[in-house]
């Protein structure tokens, strides 16, 4: 072939290929989208909710990163309060890196020297103790328990009228396998003397208030004749790891079945008392009406008609984790609805699932039993039969016969919420 011939072939070849491309593209009509010049790709949640009910499952804060933690929902930064996003509750044990965080005072530990840290046991005892972490691990028999840790104010943003405080959605809770020393063993080692009534607990967290003032230290107490003392542990591992600093390294109290206000983090002092603890954190806050379900009205509370007692055992609760409403469901598609349930009063014996807003109920399948204080997972198969809006609901029953109510409650601080949970899902055509 001559040189001229080659050139002509190349040009024609190119033109033909180009023509072929153009023809192909035109025929197939690829939908080229133009990037929007302005406006955000993702519409964020609002900054705040209210004065009505928070309609979202979780709090509406932005995601935030903290040491040892996955991005979690931020409520506050100083002191730190972080909520666990919904999907982490698919597993019965909540990953440490996703576990919610709640502190009262801004002086949260950033660094702890274990060569110097001691757990002091003092007060009305035969012998005061100063135990290192090594002492706790070696001198005492290790015990383990799976227990749900839930903030007393979990779901506070459901209350009407809204209550000032930490505006939790449903994620101020978590389940972990805690290993440590039985509190009873520690107290026995010190030798509790006759006449002792309570044990008071204090951690390393400190606030900016004057020493011995309310805003300087956070103190909680348990009665020594409370049966929970026999199940309380001083935990040094959480899900098989050292406690994250934000969840109470080096050790924290684990009080199974009770709200986490008692679960003192970075525990450093156990004081045995001969008088009931009258400190602010026991008597002036963390109190609930002494009524069924802890329910009262703003009017009754304001006019002093209701007797307030310290918050204690966690009422029965259950949650739907998926579906979470972020996707429509094609009609007749078999869906596995999944969730969790727990009660501080005893074993969860039944979980019921409704696909029609509580009109009819069916029994859900229960997951593995990790003990009476653990999350219990549940699941149910749902095959939607018609298109449109559906409201799923779940309710649990425990061994004492406690069932979740389907009415809202109110109390001055926004504690004890355990109303039946619902999830709206849109079902659409499958073609």
């Amino acid at each position: 072939m001559s040189e001229n011939g080659s050139e002509k072939i190349s040009r024609r070849f190119l033109l033909k290929v180009a023509g072929g491309c153009a023809a192909w593209l035109g025929l197939n009509k690829l939908p080229f989208a133009r990037a929007q010049a302005s406006g955000q790709a993702i519409q964020p949640l609002p900054d705040f909710t209210g004065p009505g009910v928070n309609p979202y499952w979780g709090a509406v804060g932005t995601f935030a990163v903290y040491p040892q933690k996955l991005p979690l929902i931020q409520l506050t930064d100083r002191p730190v309060q972080l909520e666990t996003p919904r999907n982490y509750f698919l597993t019965p044990f909540t990953p440490n890196a996703a576990f919610y965080v709640r502190w009262h005072l801004e002086g949260i530990p950033n660094a702890v020297n274990l060569s110097e840290w001691r757990l002091f046991v003092e007060g009305h005892v035969e012998k005061s103790l100063a135990l290192s972490l090594s002492d706790l691990m070696k001198r005492f028999k290790p015990v383990s328990i799976a227990a749900v840790n839930q903030c007393s104010g979990n779901s506070r943003s459901r209350f009407q009228p809204r209550i000032p405080g930490s505006q939790w959605g449903n994620g101020a809770m978590g389940n972990a396998l805690f290993t440590g020393v039985a509190l009873k063993d520690v107290l026995d080692a010190a030798g509790v003397k006759t006449g002792a009534l309570q044990a008071q607990f204090e951690g390393l967290e400190k606030g900016r208030g004057l020493t011995n003032s309310v805003s300087y230290k956070f103190l909680k107490s348990l009665k020594l004749d409370d049966p929970v003392i026999n199940e309380t542990i001083v935990a040094y591992t959480m899900n098989g790891e050292p406690l994250p600093m934000l969840n109470g390294f080096p050790v924290r109290l684990v009080v199974p079945g009770k709200f986490s206000t008692y679960w003192i983090k970075a525990l450093a002092w156990i004081r045995v008392l001969t008088e009931p603890d009258a400190n602010f954190w026991m008597t002036k806050t963390y109190c609930v009406p002494d009524t069924p379900g802890g329910n009262t009205t703003p009017k009754d509370a304001k006019e002093g008609r209701v007797n307030m007692v310290p918050v204690g055992t966690m009422p029965i609760r259950s949650f739907i984790i998926i579906p979470d409403g972020s996707s429509k469901i094609p009609v007749e598609m078999p869906i596995t609805v999944r969730g969790i349930a727990f009660s501080g009063y005893g074993v969860v014996v039944k979980v019921e699932f409704s696909m029609d807003d509580g009109t009819t109920w069916g029994i859900a399948k229960l997951g593995e039993d990790y003990g009476r204080y653990s999350f219990l997972t549940w699941e149910a198969t749902w095959v939607p039969k018609h298109t449109g809006k559906h409201i799923l609901a779940v309710r649990a029953t425990d061994e004492k016969g406690n069932v979740q109510p389907d009415e809202a409650i109110w109390n001055p601080k926004g504690y004890l919420w355990n109303k039946i949970e619902r999830q709206e899902v849109i079902v659409d055509t499958a073609g």
Binding site: C21, R78, N110, M245, P250
Partner: protein, 157 residues
């Protein structure tokens, strides 16, 4: 012969990943390739704090993510006093509250939690909270120039 081969190869390469004819549309595809500007927010993965065998268990500093508050009379006084014990994120986290509730909350800080605030400044603090955080006055934050709540829209980055 060769040129026919070249043309054939060219066409095959161009069309090999897609059927050729218009009849084979992407049925049902309503939208694709749609992008829009996001907010390049600084959510860096945290570096692990340096560890050594010295007995000290360390996680490093806790970050502050405090939103900027709307300008107004009393803002600086309030921030000065409130920041002693906690960040003002405690304020922005609240739902819109009745005016009277804000007054109660401020007095709770003084009477219960020991905040040392002179009386005339208490009034200014309450007034600021009531002009921005009640059911009547609370507004969504306008995200600043880079989509960040720590820069108000009317202030430069």
């Amino acid at each position: 012969m060769e040129k026919a081969l070249y043309i054939l190869i060219g066409l095959l390469i161009t069309t090999s990943h897609k059927p050729l004819l218009a009849k084979t549309n992407l049925y049902g595809l309503v939208r694709s390739g749609q992008y829009a500007k996001g907010n390049l927010r600084t959510m860096h993965q945290p570096e692990t704090a340096k560890q050594s065998v010295d007995g000290v268990y360390i996680v490093g500093t806790y970050p502050l993510y405090t939103p900027k508050l709307p300008p107004g009379e009393g803002r600086e006084i309030m921030q000065g006093y409130c920041n002693m014990c906690h960040s003002v994120t405690y304020i922005t986290m609240q739902p819109p509250l009745p005016s009277a509730t804000w007054a109660t909350e401020v007095y709770k800080m003084i009477d219960t939690y020991g905040a040392l605030i002179p009386e005339d400044e208490v009034e200014q603090i309450i007034a600021y909270l009531q002009s921005h955080y009640t059911t009547e006055t609370r507004k969504e934050t306008k995200l600043g120039m880079k989509g960040r709540q720590d820069i108000a829209e009317d202030e430069s980055p």
